[in-house]
Symmetry: D2
């Protein structure tokens, strides 16, 4: 099962080549993660998920106002990390714009290592690919 | 006396029209403020200066890699606010790129109203225009 | 008649004080303008609307994941400019977060002054307040 | 030989956890690349270097106003791509904050595949590690 988030490329996302700046794909991934968490009722004020690894491969450029769908799933849930995968698709023509992978680790508000509540990992497991 | 900060327009600052995005002038103003504070030894962990008003007028566009100088001065120091003024000049040809004005209010880390230490306002007063 | 755009404060919108960075309100205004234009079928590849003036007044801070509605209307349509007004409301409690005003001028892709098609100004006029 | 670029973490770089947002490390890498190119006199208006792959590993968080040095070198120069490597060091204590790798491909202003001038690759070769 993949989570889906719809987005439109904003003017500020673009750069002087007329395409979405490569750093903004990472922000779009995070925006999708936010909505996934909201959809699961996982707004947890006490656990944060800073990134320890972030990787995108760019396949075809996005332009201003392009409609996109971000497909997001959980690749791995370890003891102290989660790996999220993303595919960003340009809905104008169905081409993959980028594929990304982001590894997060749970911490508390003081940046000390923490663990995700079992309730949360349970819900996230539904988004694992087999 | 005006504080000066040198900057080069970054690629991510630009948009699909090939010019610096209007929101990034505000960020450049804040970047200048940071260096002004550093130059005065005013790194104060306990007082923050959120903005209550921000205004830019755009005169001539900036492009990627343009060298700019930001001139910054203090327009007003009130009991509970400070007004900073900025002029952003394109050093390629000396044209004014933008003029900005930002009003800040001191708060503590919990966003409660605070006051600037007298030592700080004293130092800032040197940057007031008469 | 006011145009409405729903948004959720993203993690990257926030700063170390835990609130939405003041520059991001301007980006949210522009994002709203994009959707207004889309809703009117006004995607016009040949006319761009760079900003000549941008102003926000901040009333109450927004935090991560806050749901907001941006209300946008047209304050003025001149011969060579349009003034847009915005009110950003925190839907958690209905408080106004910020009020903004942005002045744009039509240019062509080479940044030469242009004019908006009569068809466009006609449609925008419906969003003028009286 | 490694290229060095000095930077200070800006307020807008931070997020609500009080640390530099992970997407901004990519922007800092690009900012460094800009200065490397400038230092080599490689401002070439006709060739652009969009990214096809971007990867950062985060080692220790950066906070507001932290002074950093970005070390940048060339890992690989292929027929149609260049791989840049980056190490971002927190000058407060010398800890590595992040390690990044970015792959770019030369294109012309219309996004058609292009090649770097031999003069440019020659100069970049000096920054290859052996």
């Amino acid at each position: 099962m993949k989570f889906q988030f719809k987005y439109r490329v904003a003017w500020v996302d673009t750069d002087a080549l007329g395409i979405m700046h490569f750093s903004n794909y990472f922000r779009l991934c995070e925006r999708t993660e936010q909505e996934l968490m909201n959809s699961l009722g996982l707004e947890d004020d006490e656990t944060f998920l800073p990134r320890v690894d972030a990787h995108c491969t760019y396949k075809s450029p996005l332009k201003f106002n392009d409609p996109v769908t971000v497909y997001m799933w959980v690749k791995e849930i370890g003891k102290s990390h989660i790996t999220f995968s993303y595919e960003i698709v340009n809905d104008l023509h169905g081409k993959v714009a980028a594929q990304c992978q982001i590894v997060v680790v749970p911490v508390d508000a003081k940046m000390k290592k923490s663990t995700l509540k079992e309730e949360i990992t349970e819900k996230l497991r539904k988004f694992m690919d087999e």
